[in-house]
């Protein structure tokens, strides 16, 4: 189980990386944390002609506060997301979800940008991006553009990234006061890919009703899925079990054909999505209430 041959480049700047990506052509791939790519290389399921390693680009690894929210460099490691005090303070959902990515030895390498660009429908962080209404900066040798998370994920392992583009930054808006969030997933074993996962954000109004809910799921559709119908169901309701049940039913209705594999059928994943939705919303609401008191 050894990789096929490839050329290797370790640029120090984003510009250099973008140039290399142009030069090396369609068969070149970017290497971020490598925790999904290396297994594919070892198994020879991926055979890039060249790897452009982003790990030496210091400018990609940062976490900055901005407008009550956050801007994160794409090379931010999951282990950093999990522990960073600024992330914990401003977007605890991201920290909570990052903990579910594999195991610590994986998270020391795996990166936020890598996970988003890889766009595995089972991955946690893409769903979190939908729940947090994120936007991504995509940079190429000719310029850069910003794409909303909702427009980024196109299919299993497919994104809005064009060849020559590098996902460099993640922008997360801040949450209003009286907000709470929760990430929950169910996997066969700790650290395995989820059979279903739910990222929930609840923002409460002054009167204690739900001003806004954001809900996104992983591993139940070809892409991470924002549960818009369920979000609509929740708006203006009292945060109680009936609301969570109604949202769960809306989620289950919304899931057309969840993926199926030997670890879980489509039907089971759909069922889990409902259960986890209920539990995640209840937890998020509890946290929203606590944040206020």
């Amino acid at each position: 189980m050894k990789p096929a041959r490839f050329r290797y480049f370790a640029p120090h700047t984003i510009t250099e990386a973008a140039q290399l990506l142009d030069e090396q052509g369609d068969e070149a791939r970017l290497l971020a944390g490598g925790q999904s790519l290396l297994p594919l290389l070892n198994l020879r399921l991926a055979r890039p002609s060249a790897l452009i390693d982003l790990n030496e680009i210091q400018a990609l690894a940062f976490i900055h506060p901005r407008n009550g929210g956050l801007v994160l460099g794409a090379l931010t490691r999951d282990a950093t997301l999990e522990r960073d005090p600024l992330v914990a303070a401003r977007q605890p959902l991201l920290a909570e979800a990052a903990h579910y990515v594999g195991h610590l030895a994986i998270r020391h390498r795996s990166t936020l940008g890598g996970s988003l660009a890889h766009a595995d429908p089972a991955a946690e962080l893409p769903a979190v991006m939908l729940a947090l209404d994120a936007a991504f900066t995509l940079q190429s040798s000719t310029g850069s553009r910003t794409v909303a998370a909702a427009a980024f994920f196109k299919g299993p392992f497919q994104t809005a990234l064009q060849h020559g583009e590098i996902l460099t930054e993640v922008h997360l808006p801040g949450l209003p006061p009286r907000s709470g969030s929760a990430f929950l997933e169910f996997a066969r074993r700790e650290g395995d890919y989820a059979l279903a996962g739910v990222a929930a954000v609840i923002c409460l109004a002054e009167d204690g009703t739900i001003a806004q809910a954001r809900l996104a799921l992983c591993s139940v559709a070809p892409t991470p899925l924002q549960a818009i119908a369920a979000e609509t169901v929740l708006r203006g309701r009292h945060p109680d079990n009936a609301a969570w049940q109604a949202a769960a039913e809306a989620v289950v209705d919304e899931l057309k054909e969840p993926p199926a594999d030997i670890h879980g059928s489509a039907e089971y994943r759909r069922h889990l999505a409902g259960v986890l939705t209920r539990r995640a919303l209840a937890r998020a609401a509890q946290r929203a209430e606590r944040s206020h008191s």
Binding site: L38, N42, L51, H103, L104, A105, H108
Partner: protein
């Protein structure tokens, strides 16, 4: 194979500096085992699922099968061979021995490195924390319990050592 397929790597392993040339496709695991003949780190799955090849890169646990050797350039690697000092086992190794936290020994180097990092971060982990920290390291022999017990024992001894090393009179 042409010489220019190879890339120079400078890496410190267990405090010993090495300079070598490797193919880009060589994993850190194969570099350690084949080029540096540090065969204590074992290849269990080579796809990042078993944890047998866990080593520390700049003090952080990583899976050596999921890193390219060239990516270790300029970094410090610590392997199981670096745990014992002057032929004396590290307290973790001693505790694994006492509690029989191993049977076939194949997963053991990865377990030790994972446990080493855990105790660096958390000198007094509870059973649940230990099990969670180990959940990415598969062992097919022990059922894990003796490993958990060994880590608790080592933690206790390391805490005692640290306390003994603290100058007296610092606490009122």
């Amino acid at each position: 194979m042409m010489e220019d397929d190879f890339i120079p790597v400078r890496v410190s392993v267990n405090g010993v500096p090495h300079r070598l040339f490797v193919e880009p496709r060589r994993t850190l695991l194969d570099m350690l085992r084949e080029d540096l003949e540090l065969t204590g780190t074992n290849a269990g799955c080579e796809h990042g699922s078993c944890g047998a090849c866990t080593v520390l890169l700049d003090g952080q646990s990583v899976r050596a099968c999921l890193l390219l050797a060239v990516q270790a350039n300029g970094h410090e690697v610590m392997t199981v061979e670096g745990l014992a000092l002057h032929g004396r086992m590290h307290p973790l190794q001693e505790a694994f021995w006492e509690k029989q936290g191993l049977q076939c020994g194949f997963c053991t180097p990865g377990m030790l490195m994972t446990a080493y990092e855990l105790l660096q971060q958390n000198p007094d982990p509870g059973e649940e924390e230990i099990r969670s920290a180990l959940s990415g390291n598969l062992c097919r022999c022990t059922g894990y319990q003796h490993i958990v017990e060994a880590i608790r024992l080592a933690a206790q001894r390391l805490r005692e050592e640290a306390e003994a090393a603290t100058p007296s009179g610092t606490t009122a």
